[in-house]
Symmetry: C2
Subunit: 220 residues, 2 copies
DNA sequence: TGGTAAGTGTAACATTTGTTACACATTATG
DNA sequence: CATAATGTGTAACAAATGTTACACTTACCA
């Protein structure tokens, strides 16, 4: 869950000689000043927009998974690429610039042409969207769990799968609480209860799973 | 939010003469009996699987938006197409047949070839995934709202946008409660409070928005 | 190294939501 | 039409979580 999306960095290399894109690609570049509203919720999205310079803010789930509030998007990253091809192709939120911004615009028909002619472009596009979907699915699964201990259990079991019984988490309690969408003291209470119950142990940011079965039971 | 996905029905027409797909498409068809576990959580997903006959169940968010429990998927529908191209291309859940089932399997490389050679196929694939993403985003937004009244407000404002101040909702309270992920009596309480406060009025399944501003304030 | 900011543990209390139970209304069905 | 099944309103109470507050620890940095 890094804040950069390496698969799209190629966009920042956009120039005629470097050529990740064919020289004949049809596109336009739009520049905006600070605090301009560049997309409005409900606007029809008939092109692929890529933020190539600057940053914008929008109300969505954030890149690091926090609950919706203001998300800040930094270049280079595509803006809501998932909506370009949806039946109801409208922006779900407002998008406002936070500084001077450059946006690359590739019309939908051109995107389709690129996809068929440039396999790498297509793969990157697909992968980016697939990753986004996976991310959303995961978040949805986490949010659907109703108890705090359940959320913690889900999260820890996931970590456990990846790193084994003992691992460190590089978020503090406040960040974790935001991630789970709960209040910080409530999270602390649940954590300390789980420690008391001997299910996990915590030392600084080192978490150790002591009782896998116990954790799994917390998922209901 | 119908349970069929018309854009994929073309798959059921799969035969050499009808030719939505080119005659030389590489694929295989797999049949399974009732109650077979056909995909396991964590399995690598290296092909596009389309359920062409029968039904399977899986634990995910349901097609009509209910919280994760058992989702039943009926043919024809692709199975988790979003994960084929993700970096971590593993099935997020177990998939079990509920009856005799046929699954069409198209290897990933073949999917890529089809996408570049058959623009319609590509568009349908993209649209399907885009719709799915939009759906997930919407659900996530709803679930992120922490109060019941907030969820109701979000939902009603959405309906209001589409159908105006007055509209009917074809779900009963129990279904609505599941949709919101809350208990039925809690939902009823919140609804009747909102009626008392003069924000909405309800007659049978006819909902009328009396105070848009009041609703919007409930979103925090 | 001392001071400041950031992070953690925890307690008392408020609020929201869930649970259970039941009366009543509405709808389907023989 | 009678009866059952389904849906709705609501109340009393339980449980979970949020809120606020504060003491204490750790990390940072001037």
């Amino acid at each position: 869950m890094k804040s950069s999306n390496p698969e799209w960095v190629g966009f920042s290399l956009l120039d005629e000689e470097n050529g990740f894109f064919p020289a004949d690609m049809i596109y336009s570049i739009h520049t905006y000043l600070k605090n301009e509203l560049i997309f409005r919720q409900g606007d029809i999205c008939e092109a692929l927009y890529v933020l190539i310079k600057g940053s914008v803010k929008t109300e969505m789930i954030t890149e690091n998974g926090n609950l919706l509030g203001i998300e800040i998007i930094k270049a280079p990253r595509p803006l809501a690429p998932a909506f370009l091809f949806s039946d109801n192709n409208r922006f779900p939120v407002d998008v406002t610039t936070m500084e001077a911004v450059e946006v690359l615009r590739i019309p939908k028909v051109e995107v389709i042409r690129l996809m068929t002619s440039q396999i790498d472009f297509m793969k990157q596009f697909l992968t980016h969207n697939a990753n986004r979907t996976q991310f959303l699915t995961n978040r949805l699964q986490l949010l659907s769990i109703k108890t705090i201990k359940g959320k913690i259990a889900h999260f820890l079991l996931e970590q456990c799968n990846e790193h084994g019984q003992k691992f460190s988490i590089n978020r503090n309690q406040t960040e974790l609480a935001e991630f789970f969408g709960v209040a910080r003291p409530s999270l602390a209470r649940s954590l300390s209860e789980m420690v008391q119950e001997g299910i996990i142990s915590i030392t600084k940011k080192e978490y150790t799973i002591l009782n896998n079965k116990g954790l799994r039971e917390l998922l209901l």
